[in-house]
Amino acid sequence: MGMNWLAKIAGLAEVPVFVAIGEGAPSDTAISLCTNPALRSVETPRAAAILLVVGTIPDALLPQLHRLHDQLPHPRATVLWHSGNRLSEATTVGGTEDIGASLKDVHRSLLAGNFDTEPDILPDVPPNEWRGIGTHGQGGKGMMGGTPYGRPMAMTAADLRDGLELDAYTADFGPFLPMFPPGLALTLTLQGDVIQSVAVVHPPFENHENRGWVLLNLLGLPALAERMLRVSNDSDTTLRRLIHLSGARAAIPKSLGRTYDGSDVRARFDQMTGISEHAMNAHVHQTGLDDLLIGLEWHEAMLVLNSFDTAPLRTICANTSDPEPDEKMEGGMDHGAHAGHMS
Protein backbone atom coordinates (compact mmCIF):
# COMPACT_ATOMS: atom_id res chain seq x y z
CA MET A 1 0.00 0.00 0.00
CA GLY A 2 1.09 3.58 -0.53
CA MET A 3 1.53 4.30 3.14
CA ASN A 4 4.14 1.65 3.73
CA TRP A 5 6.87 2.97 1.48
CA LEU A 6 6.22 6.52 2.67
CA ALA A 7 6.42 5.37 6.27
CA LYS A 8 9.65 3.52 5.56
CA ILE A 9 11.29 6.54 3.96
CA ALA A 10 9.99 8.83 6.67
CA GLY A 11 11.48 6.53 9.27
CA LEU A 12 14.93 7.14 7.83
CA ALA A 13 14.76 10.87 8.48
CA GLU A 14 15.93 12.65 11.59
CA VAL A 15 13.17 12.50 14.15
CA PRO A 16 11.55 15.93 14.50
CA VAL A 17 11.22 16.55 18.21
CA PHE A 18 9.74 19.44 20.16
CA VAL A 19 11.57 19.82 23.44
CA ALA A 20 9.70 20.93 26.55
CA ILE A 21 12.16 21.63 29.33
CA GLY A 22 11.09 21.29 32.92
CA GLU A 23 12.71 21.57 36.30
CA GLY A 24 15.76 19.52 36.99
CA ALA A 25 16.74 19.11 33.39
CA PRO A 26 20.47 18.37 33.19
CA SER A 27 22.44 21.41 32.17
CA ASP A 28 23.91 19.69 29.14
CA THR A 29 20.49 18.88 27.70
CA ALA A 30 20.90 21.26 24.81
CA ILE A 31 24.31 19.89 23.98
CA SER A 32 23.30 16.25 24.10
CA LEU A 33 20.16 16.85 22.05
CA CYS A 34 21.93 18.82 19.38
CA THR A 35 24.90 16.51 19.00
CA ASN A 36 22.67 13.48 18.62
CA PRO A 37 22.39 12.80 14.87
CA ALA A 38 19.17 10.86 15.16
CA LEU A 39 16.96 13.79 16.09
CA ARG A 40 16.28 17.35 15.09
CA SER A 41 14.91 19.88 17.50
CA VAL A 42 12.15 21.89 15.82
CA GLU A 43 10.90 25.30 16.78
CA THR A 44 7.17 24.73 16.67
CA PRO A 45 5.13 21.77 17.92
CA ARG A 46 3.31 21.67 14.59
CA ALA A 47 6.46 20.41 12.90
CA ALA A 48 7.19 17.74 15.50
CA ALA A 49 6.28 14.09 15.69
CA ILE A 50 7.38 13.55 19.26
CA LEU A 51 7.07 15.73 22.34
CA LEU A 52 10.18 15.28 24.43
CA VAL A 53 9.72 16.34 28.03
CA VAL A 54 13.08 16.79 29.73
CA GLY A 55 12.94 17.35 33.45
CA THR A 56 9.86 17.50 35.63
CA ILE A 57 7.09 19.94 34.81
CA PRO A 58 5.66 21.39 38.06
CA ASP A 59 1.95 21.13 38.73
CA ALA A 60 1.38 24.82 38.06
CA LEU A 61 2.43 24.33 34.44
CA LEU A 62 0.78 20.97 33.79
CA PRO A 63 -2.27 22.51 32.04
CA GLN A 64 0.11 24.23 29.62
CA LEU A 65 1.87 20.96 28.97
CA HIS A 66 -1.41 19.26 28.22
CA ARG A 67 -2.42 22.00 25.81
CA LEU A 68 0.97 21.82 24.14
CA HIS A 69 0.68 18.05 23.84
CA ASP A 70 -2.64 18.32 22.06
CA GLN A 71 -1.20 20.71 19.48
CA LEU A 72 1.12 18.18 17.87
CA PRO A 73 -0.07 16.66 14.60
CA HIS A 74 -0.95 12.98 14.47
CA PRO A 75 0.78 10.50 14.58
CA ARG A 76 2.39 11.70 17.77
CA ALA A 77 3.97 10.33 20.90
CA THR A 78 5.40 11.72 24.11
CA VAL A 79 8.71 10.72 25.57
CA LEU A 80 9.65 11.62 29.12
CA TRP A 81 13.37 11.89 29.88
CA HIS A 82 14.87 12.56 33.31
CA SER A 83 11.31 13.35 34.26
CA GLY A 84 9.12 12.63 37.24
CA ASN A 85 5.90 13.40 35.38
CA ARG A 86 3.55 10.63 34.49
CA LEU A 87 1.52 11.12 31.35
CA SER A 88 -0.67 8.28 30.25
CA GLU A 89 0.60 6.54 27.11
CA ALA A 90 3.95 8.29 27.25
CA THR A 91 7.21 6.44 27.01
CA THR A 92 9.65 7.03 29.81
CA VAL A 93 13.33 6.96 29.02
CA GLY A 94 15.77 6.65 31.84
CA GLY A 95 18.62 9.04 32.28
CA THR A 96 21.33 6.66 31.13
CA GLU A 97 19.72 5.36 27.96
CA ASP A 98 20.56 6.67 24.53
CA ILE A 99 17.85 9.17 23.82
CA GLY A 100 18.48 9.11 20.09
CA ALA A 101 17.92 5.40 19.74
CA SER A 102 14.77 5.48 21.87
CA LEU A 103 13.34 8.36 19.87
CA LYS A 104 14.07 6.63 16.61
CA ASP A 105 12.36 3.48 17.83
CA VAL A 106 9.28 5.38 18.93
CA HIS A 107 9.15 7.28 15.65
CA ARG A 108 9.45 4.14 13.55
CA SER A 109 6.76 2.38 15.53
CA LEU A 110 4.47 5.38 15.16
CA LEU A 111 4.92 5.44 11.43
CA ALA A 112 4.51 1.72 11.03
CA GLY A 113 1.30 1.89 12.97
CA ASN A 114 2.50 -0.33 15.79
CA PHE A 115 2.10 2.46 18.23
CA ASP A 116 -1.23 4.14 18.40
CA THR A 117 -1.06 7.86 18.15
CA GLU A 118 -1.84 9.56 21.43
CA PRO A 119 -5.31 10.99 21.81
CA ASP A 120 -6.00 14.45 23.15
CA ILE A 121 -5.73 15.01 26.83
CA LEU A 122 -8.19 17.89 26.83
CA PRO A 123 -11.85 17.54 25.89
CA ASP A 124 -13.02 18.53 22.44
CA VAL A 125 -15.10 21.59 23.28
CA PRO A 126 -15.03 25.00 21.64
CA PRO A 127 -13.30 27.69 23.68
CA ASN A 128 -16.44 29.68 24.46
CA GLU A 129 -20.08 28.86 24.34
CA TRP A 130 -22.24 31.87 23.81
CA ARG A 131 -22.71 33.51 27.16
CA GLY A 132 -24.36 36.75 28.21
CA ILE A 133 -25.92 38.07 31.38
CA GLY A 134 -29.61 37.40 30.90
CA THR A 135 -31.39 34.09 30.82
CA HIS A 136 -31.47 34.02 27.04
CA GLY A 137 -27.84 35.00 26.70
CA GLN A 138 -28.57 38.66 26.14
CA GLY A 139 -26.77 41.64 27.62
CA GLY A 140 -23.16 41.96 28.70
CA LYS A 141 -20.24 44.34 28.65
CA GLY A 142 -18.16 45.59 25.83
CA MET A 143 -18.88 45.98 22.16
CA MET A 144 -20.33 42.58 21.59
CA GLY A 145 -22.69 42.16 24.52
CA GLY A 146 -21.64 38.91 26.11
CA THR A 147 -18.96 36.48 24.99
CA PRO A 148 -19.46 35.30 21.44
CA TYR A 149 -19.08 31.71 20.38
CA GLY A 150 -15.44 31.04 19.64
CA ARG A 151 -13.28 33.93 20.64
CA PRO A 152 -13.93 37.66 20.89
CA MET A 153 -11.91 40.25 18.99
CA ALA A 154 -9.26 42.35 20.68
CA MET A 155 -10.19 45.72 22.17
CA THR A 156 -8.52 49.08 21.55
CA ALA A 157 -5.98 50.86 23.70
CA ALA A 158 -3.56 53.74 23.20
CA ASP A 159 -0.06 52.91 22.02
CA LEU A 160 3.00 53.80 24.07
CA ARG A 161 5.09 55.21 21.26
CA ASP A 162 2.66 57.40 19.40
CA GLY A 163 -0.69 57.30 21.20
CA LEU A 164 -2.57 55.76 18.29
CA GLU A 165 -5.59 53.81 19.53
CA LEU A 166 -5.55 50.46 17.77
CA ASP A 167 -6.17 46.98 19.04
CA ALA A 168 -4.02 45.79 21.90
CA TYR A 169 -3.48 42.03 22.00
CA THR A 170 -3.11 40.48 25.42
CA ALA A 171 -2.13 36.87 25.89
CA ASP A 172 -0.04 34.65 28.09
CA PHE A 173 3.03 33.64 26.18
CA GLY A 174 3.70 30.30 27.63
CA PRO A 175 6.60 28.41 29.07
CA PHE A 176 7.11 26.12 26.11
CA LEU A 177 8.29 28.49 23.42
CA PRO A 178 11.80 27.86 22.09
CA MET A 179 12.82 31.50 22.41
CA PHE A 180 11.72 31.84 26.04
CA PRO A 181 14.00 30.69 28.86
CA PRO A 182 12.63 27.37 30.13
CA GLY A 183 9.77 27.79 32.55
CA LEU A 184 9.19 31.49 31.95
CA ALA A 185 5.59 32.41 31.26
CA LEU A 186 4.64 36.04 30.74
CA THR A 187 1.41 37.92 30.17
CA LEU A 188 2.21 40.36 27.42
CA THR A 189 0.09 43.12 26.00
CA LEU A 190 1.21 43.86 22.47
CA GLN A 191 0.31 46.79 20.32
CA GLY A 192 1.38 45.47 16.95
CA ASP A 193 4.72 43.92 17.80
CA VAL A 194 5.74 46.35 20.53
CA ILE A 195 5.28 45.31 24.15
CA GLN A 196 3.01 47.59 26.14
CA SER A 197 2.86 45.77 29.44
CA VAL A 198 4.33 42.66 30.97
CA ALA A 199 3.46 40.51 33.98
CA VAL A 200 5.16 37.34 35.12
CA VAL A 201 2.97 34.26 35.33
CA HIS A 202 5.75 31.85 36.19
CA PRO A 203 9.47 32.54 36.71
CA PRO A 204 12.09 30.56 34.81
CA PHE A 205 13.39 27.31 36.24
CA GLU A 206 16.80 27.20 37.86
CA ASN A 207 19.31 25.97 35.44
CA HIS A 208 23.01 26.54 34.91
CA GLU A 209 23.63 26.24 31.24
CA ASN A 210 25.23 28.90 29.13
CA ARG A 211 22.53 30.26 26.86
CA GLY A 212 24.76 32.09 24.45
CA TRP A 213 23.67 29.72 21.73
CA VAL A 214 20.07 30.90 22.08
CA LEU A 215 21.20 34.45 21.38
CA LEU A 216 22.98 33.29 18.26
CA ASN A 217 19.87 31.44 17.16
CA LEU A 218 17.74 34.54 17.70
CA LEU A 219 20.16 36.53 15.59
CA GLY A 220 19.49 34.24 12.65
CA LEU A 221 22.59 32.07 13.02
CA PRO A 222 21.34 28.56 13.88
CA ALA A 223 24.40 26.88 12.40
CA LEU A 224 26.72 28.95 14.58
CA ALA A 225 24.51 28.26 17.58
CA GLU A 226 24.92 24.55 17.01
CA ARG A 227 28.64 24.97 16.54
CA MET A 228 28.82 26.75 19.84
CA LEU A 229 27.03 23.86 21.53
CA ARG A 230 29.33 21.30 19.97
CA VAL A 231 32.56 23.00 20.80
CA SER A 232 33.74 21.76 24.15
CA ASN A 233 36.04 24.56 25.07
CA ASP A 234 35.52 28.26 24.63
CA SER A 235 38.69 28.81 22.71
CA ASP A 236 37.56 27.63 19.32
CA THR A 237 39.05 30.28 17.11
CA THR A 238 36.96 29.38 14.09
CA LEU A 239 33.82 29.97 16.10
CA ARG A 240 35.09 33.30 17.36
CA ARG A 241 36.04 34.37 13.88
CA LEU A 242 32.69 33.30 12.43
CA ILE A 243 30.78 35.15 15.12
CA HIS A 244 32.91 38.21 14.49
CA LEU A 245 32.44 38.06 10.72
CA SER A 246 28.72 37.53 10.97
CA GLY A 247 28.29 40.94 12.50
CA ALA A 248 26.25 39.49 15.35
CA ARG A 249 27.62 41.93 17.87
CA ALA A 250 26.98 44.88 15.58
CA ALA A 251 23.47 43.65 14.86
CA ILE A 252 22.47 44.04 18.50
CA PRO A 253 21.43 47.65 19.06
CA LYS A 254 23.63 49.60 21.43
CA SER A 255 22.39 50.05 24.99
CA LEU A 256 19.56 47.61 24.53
CA GLY A 257 18.30 46.12 27.77
CA ARG A 258 20.45 48.28 29.97
CA THR A 259 20.23 47.31 33.63
CA TYR A 260 21.03 49.56 36.54
CA ASP A 261 24.57 48.26 36.78
CA GLY A 262 25.26 49.43 33.27
CA SER A 263 25.50 46.18 31.32
CA ASP A 264 23.56 45.98 28.09
CA VAL A 265 22.77 43.10 25.78
CA ARG A 266 25.97 43.61 23.80
CA ALA A 267 28.15 43.28 26.88
CA ARG A 268 26.27 40.20 28.04
CA PHE A 269 26.48 38.73 24.56
CA ASP A 270 30.25 39.15 24.60
CA GLN A 271 30.41 37.44 27.91
CA MET A 272 28.16 34.57 26.94
CA THR A 273 29.92 33.79 23.70
CA GLY A 274 33.29 34.00 25.31
CA ILE A 275 34.49 37.04 23.46
CA SER A 276 35.13 39.01 26.59
CA GLU A 277 36.83 37.17 29.40
CA HIS A 278 35.80 39.37 32.24
CA ALA A 279 33.08 37.58 34.11
CA MET A 280 30.72 40.05 35.59
CA ASN A 281 27.82 39.26 37.79
CA ALA A 282 24.93 41.28 36.56
CA HIS A 283 23.66 43.34 39.46
CA VAL A 284 20.00 43.38 38.87
CA HIS A 285 18.70 44.30 42.29
CA GLN A 286 16.35 47.00 41.17
CA THR A 287 15.60 46.06 37.60
CA GLY A 288 12.30 44.45 36.78
CA LEU A 289 10.94 43.10 33.51
CA ASP A 290 8.74 46.13 33.14
CA ASP A 291 11.83 48.34 33.10
CA LEU A 292 13.51 46.15 30.57
CA LEU A 293 10.83 45.05 28.15
CA ILE A 294 8.15 47.69 27.95
CA GLY A 295 8.35 49.68 24.73
CA LEU A 296 10.63 47.17 23.00
CA GLU A 297 9.87 45.52 19.73
CA TRP A 298 9.43 41.72 19.89
CA HIS A 299 12.82 40.74 18.47
CA GLU A 300 14.65 43.11 20.78
CA ALA A 301 12.61 41.87 23.73
CA MET A 302 13.57 38.27 23.00
CA LEU A 303 17.22 39.27 22.80
CA VAL A 304 16.97 40.97 26.17
CA LEU A 305 15.19 38.05 27.83
CA ASN A 306 17.76 35.55 26.66
CA SER A 307 20.80 37.65 27.44
CA PHE A 308 20.53 36.95 31.17
CA ASP A 309 21.65 33.86 32.97
CA THR A 310 18.90 32.12 34.85
CA ALA A 311 19.71 33.35 38.34
CA PRO A 312 19.68 37.07 37.45
CA LEU A 313 16.55 36.49 35.39
CA ARG A 314 14.75 34.99 38.36
CA THR A 315 15.70 38.05 40.40
CA ILE A 316 14.42 40.31 37.66
CA CYS A 317 11.13 38.44 37.51
CA ALA A 318 10.76 38.75 41.26
CA ASN A 319 11.37 42.48 40.94
CA THR A 320 8.66 42.93 38.36
CA SER A 321 5.58 44.64 39.69
CA ASP A 322 2.19 43.59 38.37
CA PRO A 323 0.49 46.10 36.12
CA GLU A 324 -2.75 47.62 37.41
CA PRO A 325 -5.57 45.19 36.78
CA ASP A 326 -8.53 46.07 34.58
CA GLU A 327 -6.94 49.28 33.35
CA LYS A 328 -7.42 48.00 29.84
CA MET A 329 -10.97 46.89 30.44
CA GLU A 330 -11.91 50.45 31.33
CA GLY A 331 -10.47 51.65 28.08
CA GLY A 332 -12.28 48.99 26.14
CA MET A 333 -15.62 49.78 27.65
CA ASP A 334 -15.42 53.48 26.93
CA HIS A 335 -15.43 52.62 23.28
CA GLY A 336 -18.39 50.34 23.64
CA ALA A 337 -20.78 53.23 23.23
CA HIS A 338 -19.71 54.25 19.76
CA ALA A 339 -18.57 50.92 18.43
CA GLY A 340 -21.13 49.08 16.36
CA HIS A 341 -18.71 48.55 13.49
CA MET A 342 -16.63 46.07 15.45
CA SER A 343 -19.14 43.26 15.73
Binding site: A49, P127, G192, P222, L245, H299, L303
Partner: protein
Protein backbone atom coordinates in the same frame (compact mmCIF):
# COMPACT_ATOMS: atom_id res chain seq x y z
CA UNK B 1 6.68 22.66 -30.29
CA UNK B 2 9.74 24.45 -29.06
CA UNK B 3 7.51 25.96 -26.39
CA UNK B 4 6.68 22.49 -25.10
CA UNK B 5 10.35 21.51 -25.14
CA UNK B 6 11.30 24.66 -23.29
CA UNK B 7 8.59 23.95 -20.72
CA UNK B 8 9.88 20.45 -20.12
CA UNK B 9 13.46 21.73 -19.86
CA UNK B 10 12.30 24.26 -17.30
CA UNK B 11 10.43 21.68 -15.24
CA UNK B 12 13.48 19.39 -15.17
CA UNK B 13 15.72 22.31 -14.24
CA UNK B 14 13.35 23.26 -11.44
CA UNK B 15 13.09 19.75 -10.01
CA UNK B 16 16.84 19.21 -10.00
CA UNK B 17 17.35 22.75 -8.73
CA UNK B 18 15.00 22.30 -5.78
CA UNK B 19 16.65 19.02 -4.84
CA UNK B 20 20.16 20.44 -5.12
CA UNK B 21 19.13 23.54 -3.16
CA UNK B 22 17.92 21.34 -0.30
CA UNK B 23 21.15 19.34 -0.38
CA UNK B 24 23.28 22.50 -0.44
CA UNK B 25 21.31 23.96 2.45
CA UNK B 26 21.90 20.85 4.55
CA UNK B 27 25.54 20.72 3.48
CA UNK B 28 26.33 24.31 4.43
CA UNK B 29 24.44 24.06 7.70
CA UNK B 30 26.38 20.97 8.70
CA UNK B 31 29.77 22.30 7.63
CA UNK B 32 29.29 25.50 9.55
CA UNK B 33 27.82 23.73 12.57
CA UNK B 34 30.78 21.40 12.70
CA UNK B 35 28.92 18.22 11.86
CA UNK B 36 30.25 15.72 9.42
CA UNK B 37 28.89 14.71 6.08
CA UNK B 38 25.47 14.85 4.54
CA UNK B 39 23.61 12.10 2.83
CA UNK B 40 22.22 13.12 -0.53
CA UNK B 41 18.84 11.70 0.28
CA UNK B 42 18.28 13.58 3.56
CA UNK B 43 15.93 16.14 1.99
CA UNK B 44 13.75 13.39 0.56
CA UNK B 45 13.54 11.65 3.90
CA UNK B 46 12.64 14.91 5.60
CA UNK B 47 9.95 15.61 3.00
CA UNK B 48 8.52 12.13 3.51
CA UNK B 49 8.53 12.71 7.25
CA UNK B 50 6.57 15.95 6.79
CA UNK B 51 4.07 14.31 4.46
CA UNK B 52 3.45 11.43 6.82
CA UNK B 53 1.95 13.78 9.37
CA UNK B 54 -1.41 15.42 9.59
CA UNK B 55 -2.11 18.81 8.07
CA UNK B 56 -3.66 20.87 10.84
CA UNK B 57 -5.70 24.03 10.82
CA UNK B 58 -6.27 26.54 13.58
CA UNK B 59 -9.43 28.11 14.98
CA UNK B 60 -11.12 30.22 12.27
CA UNK B 61 -8.27 30.30 9.74
CA UNK B 62 -8.40 31.83 6.28
CA UNK B 63 -8.32 28.54 4.37
CA UNK B 64 -8.32 29.87 0.83
CA UNK B 65 -5.46 32.28 1.43
CA UNK B 66 -3.47 29.64 3.27
CA UNK B 67 -3.65 27.44 0.20
CA UNK B 68 -3.09 30.28 -2.25
CA UNK B 69 -0.08 31.63 -0.43
CA UNK B 70 1.73 28.31 -0.66
CA UNK B 71 0.79 27.48 -4.23
CA UNK B 72 1.28 31.07 -5.36
CA UNK B 73 4.76 31.25 -3.86
CA UNK B 74 5.67 28.10 -5.79
CA UNK B 75 4.24 29.56 -8.99
CA UNK B 76 6.21 32.80 -8.60
CA UNK B 77 9.45 30.89 -8.27
CA UNK B 78 8.58 28.98 -11.40
CA UNK B 79 7.80 32.19 -13.29
CA UNK B 80 11.23 33.48 -12.29
CA UNK B 81 12.75 30.44 -13.92
CA UNK B 82 10.44 30.75 -16.91
CA UNK B 83 11.69 34.21 -17.93
CA UNK B 84 15.29 33.05 -17.95
CA UNK B 85 16.66 32.21 -21.43
CA UNK B 86 18.18 28.75 -21.79
CA UNK B 87 19.62 29.57 -25.19
CA UNK B 88 19.75 32.48 -27.63
CA UNK B 89 16.00 32.70 -28.17
CA UNK B 90 14.76 29.92 -25.93
CA UNK B 91 12.81 31.06 -22.94
CA UNK B 92 9.51 29.68 -21.76
CA UNK B 93 8.29 33.25 -21.31
CA UNK B 94 9.90 35.33 -24.02
CA UNK B 95 8.58 38.86 -23.91
CA UNK B 96 10.18 42.25 -24.45
CA UNK B 97 9.54 43.31 -20.87
CA UNK B 98 10.42 40.22 -18.87
CA UNK B 99 12.24 42.33 -16.25
CA UNK B 100 8.90 44.00 -15.52
CA UNK B 101 7.29 40.58 -15.10
CA UNK B 102 10.02 39.61 -12.65
CA UNK B 103 9.40 42.85 -10.76
CA UNK B 104 5.74 41.92 -10.52
CA UNK B 105 6.76 38.54 -9.09
CA UNK B 106 8.86 40.25 -6.45
CA UNK B 107 5.98 42.37 -5.25
CA UNK B 108 3.58 39.45 -5.24
CA UNK B 109 6.00 37.53 -3.01
CA UNK B 110 5.54 40.22 -0.37
CA UNK B 111 1.78 39.84 -0.65
CA UNK B 112 1.90 36.05 -0.45
CA UNK B 113 4.25 35.88 2.52
CA UNK B 114 1.94 38.31 4.29
CA UNK B 115 -1.05 36.13 3.45
CA UNK B 116 0.81 33.10 4.70
CA UNK B 117 1.25 34.74 8.08
CA UNK B 118 -2.25 36.19 8.09
CA UNK B 119 -4.14 32.99 7.32
CA UNK B 120 -3.63 30.90 10.45
CA UNK B 121 -5.11 33.58 12.77
CA UNK B 122 -2.20 33.11 15.15
CA UNK B 123 -0.43 36.01 16.91
CA UNK B 124 3.20 35.15 16.25
CA UNK B 125 2.50 34.37 12.60
CA UNK B 126 0.77 37.73 12.23
CA UNK B 127 3.75 39.59 13.67
CA UNK B 128 6.00 37.79 11.20
CA UNK B 129 3.75 38.77 8.30
CA UNK B 130 3.65 42.46 9.18
CA UNK B 131 7.37 42.61 9.84
CA UNK B 132 8.19 41.01 6.54
CA UNK B 133 6.28 43.63 4.58
CA UNK B 134 8.32 46.41 6.19
CA UNK B 135 11.52 44.96 4.79
CA UNK B 136 10.21 43.29 1.65
CA UNK B 137 9.02 46.56 0.11
CA UNK B 138 12.22 48.63 0.21
CA UNK B 139 14.34 45.61 -0.77
CA UNK B 140 12.27 45.46 -3.92
CA UNK B 141 13.31 49.03 -4.72
CA UNK B 142 16.96 48.09 -4.45
CA UNK B 143 16.51 45.22 -6.82
CA UNK B 144 14.68 47.24 -9.42
CA UNK B 145 17.36 49.95 -9.51
CA UNK B 146 19.95 47.25 -9.97
CA UNK B 147 18.00 45.54 -12.75
CA UNK B 148 17.42 48.86 -14.55
CA UNK B 149 21.16 49.42 -14.40
CA UNK B 150 21.66 46.03 -16.01
CA UNK B 151 19.10 46.88 -18.70
CA UNK B 152 20.89 50.10 -19.72
CA UNK B 153 23.66 48.58 -21.84
CA UNK B 154 21.21 46.10 -23.34
CA UNK B 155 18.80 48.90 -24.31
CA UNK B 156 15.98 46.51 -23.53
CA UNK B 157 13.97 45.12 -20.65
CA UNK B 158 14.09 41.66 -22.18
CA UNK B 159 16.18 39.24 -20.19
CA UNK B 160 17.26 37.56 -23.43
CA UNK B 161 18.70 40.84 -24.69
CA UNK B 162 20.39 41.43 -21.34
CA UNK B 163 22.19 38.12 -21.61
CA UNK B 164 23.26 38.87 -25.19
CA UNK B 165 24.61 42.26 -24.09
CA UNK B 166 27.04 40.46 -21.80
CA UNK B 167 28.86 38.69 -24.60
CA UNK B 168 31.76 41.06 -24.24
CA UNK B 169 31.91 41.41 -20.48
CA UNK B 170 29.76 40.08 -17.71
CA UNK B 171 27.69 42.57 -15.74
CA UNK B 172 29.19 41.46 -12.46
CA UNK B 173 32.46 43.01 -13.61
CA UNK B 174 31.30 46.18 -15.28
CA UNK B 175 28.64 46.89 -12.59
CA UNK B 176 30.29 45.55 -9.45
CA UNK B 177 27.76 47.00 -6.99
CA UNK B 178 24.86 45.30 -8.67
CA UNK B 179 25.20 41.65 -7.72
CA UNK B 180 25.77 42.12 -3.95
CA UNK B 181 22.63 44.26 -3.72
CA UNK B 182 20.69 41.80 -5.83
CA UNK B 183 21.74 38.94 -3.57
CA UNK B 184 20.12 40.76 -0.66
CA UNK B 185 16.88 40.55 -2.57
CA UNK B 186 17.47 36.84 -2.93
CA UNK B 187 17.81 36.46 0.81
CA UNK B 188 14.59 38.36 1.34
CA UNK B 189 12.57 36.49 -1.31
CA UNK B 190 13.59 33.08 0.00
CA UNK B 191 13.24 34.05 3.67
CA UNK B 192 16.83 33.29 4.63
CA UNK B 193 19.40 34.56 7.05
CA UNK B 194 19.78 38.28 7.65
CA UNK B 195 16.53 39.15 5.86
CA UNK B 196 14.35 36.38 7.23
CA UNK B 197 11.81 38.59 8.97
CA UNK B 198 8.90 36.41 8.00
CA UNK B 199 9.88 33.00 9.33
CA UNK B 200 12.30 34.06 12.06
CA UNK B 201 13.45 32.08 15.07
CA UNK B 202 12.44 34.76 17.57
CA UNK B 203 8.84 34.13 16.55
CA UNK B 204 9.18 30.34 16.79
CA UNK B 205 8.86 30.02 13.03
CA UNK B 206 6.95 33.22 12.26
CA UNK B 207 4.56 32.79 9.36
CA UNK B 208 5.21 29.03 9.31
CA UNK B 209 4.48 28.50 12.97
CA UNK B 210 1.14 26.79 12.34
CA UNK B 211 2.18 24.88 9.22
CA UNK B 212 2.19 21.13 9.64
CA UNK B 213 2.30 18.15 7.31
CA UNK B 214 1.58 18.92 3.68
CA UNK B 215 1.42 22.69 4.31
CA UNK B 216 4.92 22.66 5.74
CA UNK B 217 6.31 20.53 2.95
CA UNK B 218 4.60 22.79 0.39
CA UNK B 219 6.00 26.00 1.87
CA UNK B 220 9.54 24.65 2.07
CA UNK B 221 9.40 23.41 -1.52
CA UNK B 222 8.07 26.80 -2.59
CA UNK B 223 10.94 28.59 -0.84
CA UNK B 224 13.45 26.36 -2.59
CA UNK B 225 11.73 26.84 -5.93
CA UNK B 226 11.93 30.60 -5.43
CA UNK B 227 15.63 30.20 -4.67
CA UNK B 228 16.14 28.36 -7.96
CA UNK B 229 14.14 30.90 -9.94
CA UNK B 230 15.86 33.87 -8.35
CA UNK B 231 19.33 32.39 -8.81
CA UNK B 232 18.64 31.75 -12.47
CA UNK B 233 17.55 35.38 -12.92
CA UNK B 234 20.66 36.61 -11.10
CA UNK B 235 22.88 34.33 -13.17
CA UNK B 236 21.34 35.66 -16.38
CA UNK B 237 21.42 39.31 -15.39
CA UNK B 238 24.92 39.37 -13.92
CA UNK B 239 26.86 36.28 -14.81
CA UNK B 240 26.01 35.97 -18.48
CA UNK B 241 23.38 33.23 -18.28
CA UNK B 242 23.94 30.59 -20.92
CA UNK B 243 27.06 32.25 -22.38
CA UNK B 244 30.21 30.19 -22.16
CA UNK B 245 32.85 28.58 -24.39
CA UNK B 246 32.73 24.82 -24.69
CA UNK B 247 29.75 23.33 -22.88
CA UNK B 248 26.16 23.74 -24.06
CA UNK B 249 24.36 26.84 -22.84
CA UNK B 250 22.06 25.13 -20.40
CA UNK B 251 24.99 23.50 -18.60
CA UNK B 252 26.63 26.90 -18.11
CA UNK B 253 23.34 28.28 -16.85
CA UNK B 254 23.01 25.39 -14.41
CA UNK B 255 26.55 25.90 -13.10
CA UNK B 256 26.07 29.62 -12.65
CA UNK B 257 22.70 29.12 -10.98
CA UNK B 258 24.26 26.61 -8.59
CA UNK B 259 26.98 29.09 -7.74
CA UNK B 260 24.51 31.84 -6.94
CA UNK B 261 22.40 29.41 -4.88
CA UNK B 262 25.46 28.35 -2.90
CA UNK B 263 26.42 31.95 -2.24
CA UNK B 264 22.93 32.82 -1.03
CA UNK B 265 22.70 29.77 1.20
CA UNK B 266 26.13 30.49 2.65
CA UNK B 267 25.21 34.13 3.30
CA UNK B 268 22.03 32.97 4.96
CA UNK B 269 23.93 30.85 7.43
CA UNK B 270 26.80 33.23 8.06
CA UNK B 271 25.29 36.70 8.44
CA UNK B 272 23.38 37.91 11.49
CA UNK B 273 19.88 39.36 11.42
CA UNK B 274 19.42 42.69 13.12
CA UNK B 275 16.14 43.90 14.65
CA UNK B 276 13.77 45.12 12.00
CA UNK B 277 13.90 48.83 12.81
CA UNK B 278 17.67 48.89 12.29
CA UNK B 279 17.42 47.00 9.04
CA UNK B 280 14.78 49.42 7.81
CA UNK B 281 17.06 52.34 8.52
CA UNK B 282 20.01 50.58 6.93
CA UNK B 283 18.16 49.90 3.70
CA UNK B 284 16.84 53.41 3.22
CA UNK B 285 19.86 55.35 4.43
CA UNK B 286 22.77 53.25 3.18
CA UNK B 287 21.78 50.64 0.64
CA UNK B 288 19.43 52.76 -1.44
CA UNK B 289 22.09 55.48 -2.02
CA UNK B 290 24.47 52.70 -3.04
CA UNK B 291 21.86 51.56 -5.55
CA UNK B 292 21.65 55.12 -6.90
CA UNK B 293 25.42 55.09 -7.27
CA UNK B 294 25.28 51.80 -9.12
CA UNK B 295 22.73 53.25 -11.52
CA UNK B 296 24.81 56.37 -12.07
CA UNK B 297 27.94 54.37 -12.81
CA UNK B 298 26.06 52.07 -15.15
CA UNK B 299 24.62 55.07 -16.95
CA UNK B 300 28.00 56.71 -17.37
CA UNK B 301 29.57 53.53 -18.66
CA UNK B 302 26.72 52.81 -21.06
CA UNK B 303 26.84 56.21 -22.70
CA UNK B 304 28.63 56.04 -26.08
Amino acid sequence: MSFAIALIEMLTFMIFGVFLAAVLDAFFYRRIAGRSGVSLLMPLYAAAAHLSRQRLTTEAPDRLNWFLSISGFLALGAIGLAVVPFGPQTAVIGMETSVVLWGACESLVVVLVFLHGWSPNSPLALIGAYRYVAIGLPIMLLSMFVLIAVALPAESLDLRAIVISQEGLWNVIRQPLGLPLFLLLGLSLTLRGPLDYGDSADLAGGTSIEDSGANRAGWQVARLAMLVGFSAVAASAFLGGYLGPVLPGIVWLALKTLTVMAVIIAMGHLLARMPVARMLGLIWKVLLPIAFLDLLLAGLVALP
